[in-house]
Subunit: 161 residues, 2 copies
DNA sequence: CGAATTAATACGCTTCTGCTTATCATCTAC
DNA sequence: GTAGATGATAAGCAGAAGCGTATTAATTCG
């Protein structure tokens, strides 16, 4: 019988690997998001771009690519499509006309908010399955750990022992 | 300023999407696992197969593929390599000689245990960053949610409201 | 002004993955 | 035993992603 007993005390030696669990959960969460995004005419990458641009307007596309962990040459098509749909502005920076200033249009804000709200509703329904205390701990832990950089988790060089 | 304040009461409206967080965390965890696996001469798929076979010997390769969410025709190469390295047995089922009985060799067990132990050490170091209560809730919630099927998370048909 | 640099973009290459089809051996049912 | 189903395997194809290079426009430095 697999390892699904979190209540066996302090030694949770029978749990699956963390990565195995986050992979499985992530797969489910993404599967739940995709249809919602499709309803809003967004791809996952498009949605990620809208989220990134909403937090703070970005000066260069390269910065955006790095911020969302995508390839420089890969987001161009995504930006093209978002721009065609009128969800983002991509204007040349008057100060440095090589760069393109990226920002959300009012429409972009609207679509982003609507998509995210729908996603949140689904997530809350899922989280409601957890008992209150577990839920709070899960969220807090997830927020804390997901905010760590990859180097932080792998153990940055200099911490080799 | 981003959303890193889990202590703001019951309305955690400023947190990132769950999928965004699990994606980021998963990326870090996988990045932390890969070098450990490489030290043991394992690929991620190879490791996943060893884990799956350890829990319960499998009768058919198709069952294994489904169990680990891989493609039927894709795991063959993985099995070939594991077999070449003497980590798994792949014998014809005497009862149904079409099928191949899969099991770990003693060596396979050893490699699996060693790799998993190393991975666990890294994970524990990571989890140690969380306060005790958060850590327990995080683990319990992750275990519970990751055990759900994709259909469960997306909202299976019949639950359309 | 001319050289080196940088942002955006296009192109091509390679890998991984998902999916489909075909083949062969074997089993089950009739 | 002959037909149809099933398991393992190979091979092929399309899509997505990472990566490197080349090109063009625009900036900065000397």
């Amino acid at each position: 019988m697999p390892s699904l007993d979190p209540t066996n005390g302090q030694h949770e030696r029978t749990r699956p690997d963390l990565a195995a669990m986050t992979t499985a959960l992530n797969r489910s969460l993404v599967a739940a998001e995709l249809p919602v995004l499709a309803e809003h005419g967004l791809t996952m990458w498009g949605y990620v771009v809208l989220l990134a641009l909403d937090e703070h307007p970005l000066r260069t596309q390269a910065a955006l690519a790095e911020a969302i962990g995508a390839d420089k040459t890969r987001i161009i098509g995504v930006l093209d499509e978002l721009q065609d749909r009128g969800l983002i502005n991509r204007q040349r920076d008057p100060a440095d006309r090589r760069a393109r200033l990226l920002s959300l249009t009012p429409d972009g804000h609207r679509v982003r908010d609507s998509a995210q709200a729908a996603i949140r509703r689904g997530e809350e329904r899922l989280l409601a399955r957890l008992p209150e205390r577990q839920r709070a701990g899960f969220l807090a832990g997830l927020i804390a750990l997901s905010a760590l950089s990859v180097e932080d988790v792998t153990g940055r060089p200099g911490d080799a022992r």
